[in-house]
């Protein structure tokens, strides 16, 4: 892939190639501050970000950005680690528009802060929900189960 060669030469030492195959390549960047630049490079070949998944390896959280393109359906997975001390990462919404809702989902379920996101609200759960339910340290206790967020009169 053209983009992958460019990335390898442009981000020497910061970028690690885990898999390089014709249809699917997996890369990892070590410094999370490079995410905007890398995303901008990726945009040259890959049109869409079709998934953003987060894996909880406490204390490290791994973000998987999965890119694809319309021309030959190649895929590229970009892995970034963030740790619990600085629980935020730059948003790539200005490069890939579909990152808007994906990042809102990651914020909703894992509590990751995306710097520079235009509209960082919860997307699935109610606005006043306590906690972030897909984290490993989240416990479903009676208080959570009985929570409705409503004041009921009947």
């Amino acid at each position: 892939m053209v983009t992958l060669d460019k990335l390898k030469s442009g981000f020497k030492g910061e970028l690690e190639v885990l898999t390089e195959e014709p249809k699917l390549s997996i890369i990892r960047i070590k410094n999370k501050k490079l995410i905007k630049k890398v995303a901008w490079q990726i945009k040259e070949e890959f049109d869409i970000l079709y998934a953003l998944s987060v894996v909880d390896y406490t204390p490290v959280f791994e973000l998987n950005y999965i890119f694809s393109n319309y021309r030959n359906a190649d895929s590229l997975v970009l892995k970034v680690n963030i740790d619990e001390k600085d629980f935020s990462i730059d948003s790539i919404t200005d490069t890939f528009n579909s990152a808007n809702w994906e990042e809102r989902e990651a914020y909703d379920l894992f509590g990751i802060k995306f710097n520079g996101h235009p509209d960082l609200r919860r997307i699935l759960l109610p606005e006043d929900w306590p906690g972030h339910p897909l984290r490993k340290d989240f416990k479903v206790d009676d208080e959570i189960r009985n929570w409705t967020g409503l004041d009921l009169k009947f």
Binding site: L124, L125, P126, W129, P133, F138, V140, I144, R145, W147, T148, G149, L150, L152, F154
Partner: protein, 175 residues
Amino acid sequence: MEESNGFSYPGLYEIVFMKAEKFINTVLNWGRSNSLWPLTFGTSCCAIEMMTFGATKVDSDRLGVLFTGDSPRQSDLILVSGTITKKMARRLLNVYEQMPDPKYVIAVGACNVSGGLYHDSYNTIEGIDRIMPVDAFIPGCPPRPEEFLDAVRVLQKLIKENKSKAQKNGNIRQA
């Protein structure tokens, strides 16, 4: 005519008034129970069975349950079918509060009876009787369309006997 323990026999006027009130209420309840226009609130698989309930084979029209276009303003009965999440609960109550009194609720499916498959989830209302007064429950995952008929029969009986939740809570106009 008054006795020492404070009990008094009703006079002629009171007897006539009570009889008339009872008669009018009976007529009203007869009318209410035989023209239950439903509002469909389907969020998942139970809604498919609800459609069958309104269709030809299990004909809901013969019980007076006419599916006459979904508007909360012209409905007496809300059929809540499908899992209600905590975010959806607010929308459900929003719709429910737009319905005119008297209004009745049937909870369809295991999810609305007790939480069902998702009973220990963080985001499910475990039985909608936690958030609104429910008159009849239909268990099953999903229930058969015939059980809807049964639930409507039960509800009609409750209305005729003045025992529905709407009557109990007092948000119903008596004669």
